[in-house]
């Protein structure tokens, strides 16, 4: 399980004079949960936006190797192809659901591209062709299966904006998963969740990993989530990678502790004991 799925090489993103990400290289390995952590403003979301096509990187290469051997260079794809062709899905730090549409509709919008093909770019769909109705049924089944998995089936016909915060987070993950991604990028999925919801989220994410189709890359501040579920942690500070390895190694890396807690190396042990790390 150590084949790299996404190879990020020398990624640099400059906004005018500001270097948000500087010469960053790391791998997201297949079948693993990779966590990208770092203090506020370290450039984590910028890395995400480069991977998911919202920014075009100033320099660097983002090579995504599919299980079938095909390689996509994400920095060269138009933004809608990143999800549709390269199969990279994402969620957002501030939830972006289609609030006025029902929970079920949200999951159907996620299957837009395959359904669009099945509906013959709407022409077959307008004529009510059998093959389209069949694909629509399949799309509905898939949406229902995901709603059952995230325990939201009872609210399928409610507007997404009516759901409690934790449910909206899970729905956004399910919506991203409905696009059949090989790589799922989660931007602070545990933000604003209570401890119970946070545990449910951990279970959902590990079950997605267990399915074997999707690898995960997540940005997270909640260390209980990061340490519990991730296989591999990358630490950013001021746009530069300062640590990269298994959770255990990273946790004990003095540079990480210094970046987070801002103390001298010789005081680390004391502070560590205090915060219970």
């Amino acid at each position: 399980m150590t084949t790299p799925l996404l190879k990020i090489e020398h990624l640099t993103m400059r906004f005018g004079g500001l270097v948000a990400v500087n010469d960053l290289s790391f791998d997201v390995r297949k079948g693993e949960i990779t966590a990208l952590i770092g203090p506020n403003g370290a450039g984590k979301t910028t890395v995400f936006n480069c991977i998911t096509g919202f920014y075009k990187p100033t320099e660097g290469r983002l090579g995504l190797k599919h299980p079938d051997g095909k390689t996509y260079l994400l920095e060269r794809l138009p933004d809608h192809h990143i999800n549709w062709k390269a199969r990279v899905a994402r969620t957002f730090q501030n939830i972006r659901l289609f609030q006025g549409m029902t929970v079920l509709e949200n999951l159907l919008v996620a299957q837009h591209n395959p359904l669009m093909l099945a509906s013959g770019y709407s022409i077959l769909g307008l004529l009510g062709s059998k093959s389209y109705l069949k694909s629509e049924k399949a799309a509905l089944d898939k949406a229902v299966a995901w709603l059952e998995r995230i325990n939201l089936i009872d609210r399928a016909d409610d507007p997404a904006g009516d759901l409690p915060y934790g449910d909206q987070r899970r729905l956004e993950i399910a919506r991203a998963m409905c696009t059949d991604p090989v790589l799922l990028c989660l931007d602070e999925p545990a933000a604003g969740l209570n401890p119970r919801e946070s545990l449910e989220l951990n279970a959902l994410l590990t079950s997605i990993r267990a399915d074997g189709q999707t690898s995960l890359l997540l940005i997270e501040h909640d260390m209980s989530v990061v340490m519990a579920i991730s296989d591999h942690v990358v630490v950013l500070d001021y746009g530069v990678k300062i640590s990269d390895g298994a959770p255990e190694e990273v946790r004990n890396d003095p540079r990480v502790i210094a970046a987070y807690l801002g103390v001298d190396d010789d005081e680390v042990a004391a502070v560590e004991a205090e915060v219970g790390l």
């Binding site: 192809h81 957002f92 289609f98 549409m101 509709e105 299957q111 837009h112 669009m116 307008l126």
Partner: protein, 467 residues
């Protein structure tokens, strides 16, 4: 509305406050009426301007506003003291009860409407009712439904929709008067039926041409550029005299035939072929059914598309464009399809308009038309087909009915022309909407797909789109 600023408990009616509000409204009205209503300059026989004073009229209007404002305060008060949710649930219950019958009843009514008018007013008197009310309202219903795709579903504010109406009308007028007689004269009687799809396609093409550069803009910027596009089309039509005959417009545009049989008094005309006495009413009735079928087609396609992936993508785009991009939806193509399909229906309506009038000029495609269509969509409730129908009847029918209010001349004197007050209909409709239905007449959204139970989505949840 204003409830939040008051205490939620049932409060005593504040007479003093209500009178104060009414007095203030009266003062504002009177202030406005002094220059606009109380003084009026009129030409006398010698073409001299004579200042007339109409203080009584200003006072009547002021009085009306004072009373209306006071009644409104009373109404607000009684509404506060009722248990709001219960009454609205009751109203919703009544609505739910009649809802299943509403569509067939309405459909039945619009189908037999021209025959009903014919029976009531005879062949001579019914033309006005079928043409001015029936056809005119249906044209705006169709335009409203077309624009609804762009504004209501995709959330793209288009202030230049009349441009596509103009493209449709001029396509038909030019092809039918210039191209067909020179190339295929034998197709003359079929001109309308051949040009109808061509006009729609040309309008859709112009929708795409406009869409490409414009769709990078959002919100207010998009609105301004579409407004400019509407004006550009009109100015080109005015100034490119060789092409469009400028201000003079195009006349003697062929009228639609009854599938090859013209509506005229000749031996091969409609009346002779069917053994009827010649009368212009047959054409009017036929035109009514043509626009009825065209509008119903618009509604059918819109309803179908809403349940297809493209329709869901339009609504998703209105809700959150960034989320759409993250789900692999090509937002440019999606916006363009909304523009093109909306424009296509505008083009069909334009083609029909040219065929019905027999004469078109750039005067028919001014910004006010765009504003009126947009007002219909907004008043109806964005995205709601039924709302557009109600709003068209209220606005277009309201304007037409003003022409019928001749008895007002006896009240206000023989120089009073009620149809000059048509802008008042807009004003009143918009003010009433602000007070009672800030999200339009039908403010709930109907889900495009259901799992178990159909639940209407409250308008407060639905985004309005921002370009």
């Amino acid at each position: 509305m204003t409830d939040t600023t008051h205490s939620p408990s049932p409060d005593a009616f504040n007479l003093k406050q209500a009178l104060k509000d009414a007095g203030f409204a009266g003062m504002v009205t009177f202030g406005l009426c002094v220059p606009i209503v109380a003084f009026r300059a009129e030409q006398d026989m010698a073409n001299k301007l004579v200042l007339q004073q109409r203080w009584w009229m200003a006072l009547v209007i002021t009085g009306l506003v004072v009373v209306a404002r006071f009644l409104f305060s009373l109404h607000q008060h009684s509404r506060r003291n009722e248990h709001g949710p219960q009454t609205s649930a009751g109203a919703a219950g009544v609505l739910a009860l009649i809802k299943p019958y509403l569509a067939p009843l309405g459909f039945g009514f619009i189908t037999i409407y021209p025959l009903m008018m014919l029976a009531m007013h005879g062949p001579g008197g019914s033309i006005k009712w079928i043409d001015n009310f029936g056809i005119q309202i249906l044209i705006y219903v169709m335009l409203g439904w077309g624009l609804n795709i762009v504004v209501g579903l995709a959330g793209l504010l288009d202030l230049g929709y009349v441009a596509f109406y103009a493209v449709g009308a001029y396509s038909y007028a030019l092809i039918a008067t210039k191209v067909i007689p020179q190339t295929f004269p034998f197709l003359g009687v079929w001109a309308f039926w051949i040009c109808l799809p061509i006009s729609g396609l040309l309008a859709a093409l112009w929708g795409i041409l406009l869409g490409f550069p414009v769709l990078r803009l959002r919100g207010d910027y998009l609105a301004i550029v579409t407004l400019a596009f509407g004006e550009i089309i009109r100015l080109v039509l005015i100034n490119w005299v060789d092409f469009s005959n400028g201000y003079a417009g195009l006349s003697s545009i062929p009228r639609p035939s009854f599938f090859g049989i013209p509506f005229n008094a000749s031996d091969t005309g409609f009346a002779a072929v069917f053994g009827l006495e010649f009368s212009p009413i047959y054409r009017t009735i036929f035109l009514y059914y043509v626009i009825l079928v065209l509008s119903l087609m618009t509604a059918y396609v819109t309803l179908k598309l809403r349940r297809l992936p493209v329709g869901r993508a339009w609504e998703a785009l209105r809700e959150d464009e960034i989320a759409c991009r993250s789900l692999g939806i090509n937002t440019t193509i999606t916006k363009l399809t909304a523009f093109a399909i909306g424009a296509m229906f505008g083009g069909f309506a334009g083609c029909f308009f040219a065929a019905r009038q027999g004469f078109i000029s750039p005067e028919s495609f001014v910004f006010l038309e765009s504003a009126q269509i947009l007002a219909i969509v907004v008043l109806g409730g964005m995205g709601s087909l039924f709302g557009v129908v109600v709003a068209s009847i209220a606005l277009v029918g309201g304007i037409e009915i003003l022409r019928e209010l001749d008895f007002l001349k006896e009240v206000f004197g023989p120089t009073f022309d009620p149809s000059q007050y048509r802008m008042l209909v807009f004003g009143v409709a918009m003010v009433l909407m602000m007070l009672w239905k800030p999200r339009g007449l039908i403010s709930t959204r109907d889900p495009s797909v259901i799992y178990k139970e159909r639940k209407a989505i409250s308008g407060s949840m639905v985004q309005e789109g921002h370009g």
